[in-house]
Amino acid sequence: MDAFTISVLSNIGLFSFLAISAWVLLICGEISFGQQAYFAIGAYAGGIATAVWQWPFALGVGFGVVLGAVIGGLVAWPTTRLSGMHYAIATLAFAEFVRSCLNVFSYQREVDGYLTGPDGANGFRDIRWAYEAGVEPLGYLGIIAAGLAAVIGLIACMARGRGMAQLRIVGEDPILAGMQGLNVNRIRIAAATLAGGIAALGGALYAHLATYVEPAQFGVMIGVHSLAYGLIGGLGTVFGPILGVLVDIGLLESLRVFSSYRMIVFGGLVALVLILRPRGILDEKTVRRIQAWLRR
């Protein structure tokens, strides 16, 4: 595979974490404009763990994931009571809060004679694990793919268990969910924890691929994008948000003829899809039909 394809595929994989993270909350009936916060938390925490503290890669990524999940749950705890729009803006506020805190967050230690660590708005350089461990871009793409497979596997387990059904019931009709004995708040907090962990995993992997991260990379625009991916790709299955990412990055990177009209084409395409299919390409109905067909 040539370097360009590898980098496009890596980007698709990394954005998929964010898109799945926003999708989990959408399934649960909540609009989050702020999943980029957990992506940033994962990136910074994972980077600090491997680059500053010199932890092993897996442990560093794990640290990022746990931190993202815990903070996701903690933020959800006071906010799940809020209704639709308020929740959306609260997530936005939190994400911008995280970004502006990272702008002043400095934590540098001397490692091998160099000052390493985040330095406020100047960003965080030299997250060099992949380089030092001699992992090639293709190998790193494998790591990303493995992480994504783990997330999809977890969600597949939840679909076989009760987790996905619980999320969908709460998302569809929280009042009815309560009357069926489901603890709506607890389920929403669990969903936010899960979503935080998934985004943080993507962030930690991103940091080690890019080797450099800065607060400005985690702006609102990324959050809105990742929300849109799920809505375009479809809410019926976890492959919906991934499809959304594919449409955006994959299709448009390959259709270079449109180069400078890229977003105009993309926007028009998405608007058309949404007119024809308001719940995205892979909506619940389509997914059910595909499943029935597979079962035969």
Partner: protein
Amino acid sequence: MAAAVEIQGLSCRFGGVKALDAVDIRLSPGEVLGLIGPNGSGKTSLFNLLTGHHNPEAGAILLDGLDLAGQSPSQIARFGIARTFQNLRLLRRLSVYENVRAARHACAPLRDAFWLSPAARRQERDSLMNLLDIFGLSEKAQKTPAELTLVQMRHLEIARLLAADPKLVLLDEPAAGMTSAETQAITEVIATHVLPGRSAIVIEHKMQLVAALCPRIAVLNAGRKIADGPTGQVLADSAVRQSYFGAKPC
């Protein structure tokens, strides 16, 4: 398994409207009570209070002696109260099967969210498909509720209620919008599958169903209970006829 219910001096108000005014109702275990009254007399509001959807202004609700005051709807559901809805409340984007299964998620341990053993899945599937079969819905298990007829939707709500295996069932106009033959059919299903071993309150305007299922009825009018007793006796009561049949039921 049937529960005893004691409702004492229950009042509830929406703005200036007094939806319920000091209502007392007692139900011994296994008893089936018909609840009738003109539209807007507070019948559905009584159910909403029982399921914890609204908080009472005054009064108490005891389920087997346990005070339900301040409990959340989900806790109350787990104590064994299940209901149907006058304006149907189905999960539109989930399959018929998942709609029934919705009642089974409540008391499951956290591990179940991530993993159900194949045996457990099969067992759940069999029992829920049996249930759907009773209501003639097993063919439609993978359809969405929107693809059902109104009568089938009402059946589905009852199936969901049974899936929770409640101690007290609250049926809110189960035969609304049905023809006489359909009412007859649902009456029989309720009599054979829902009522045995459970306490129940049934709101209904169709006397055909009330007379067949409820040995006792209570009458609400403008939030007050104006009669309570054996069905034949209450229906003969002139005050009831005045308030209920005087105002055209619809």
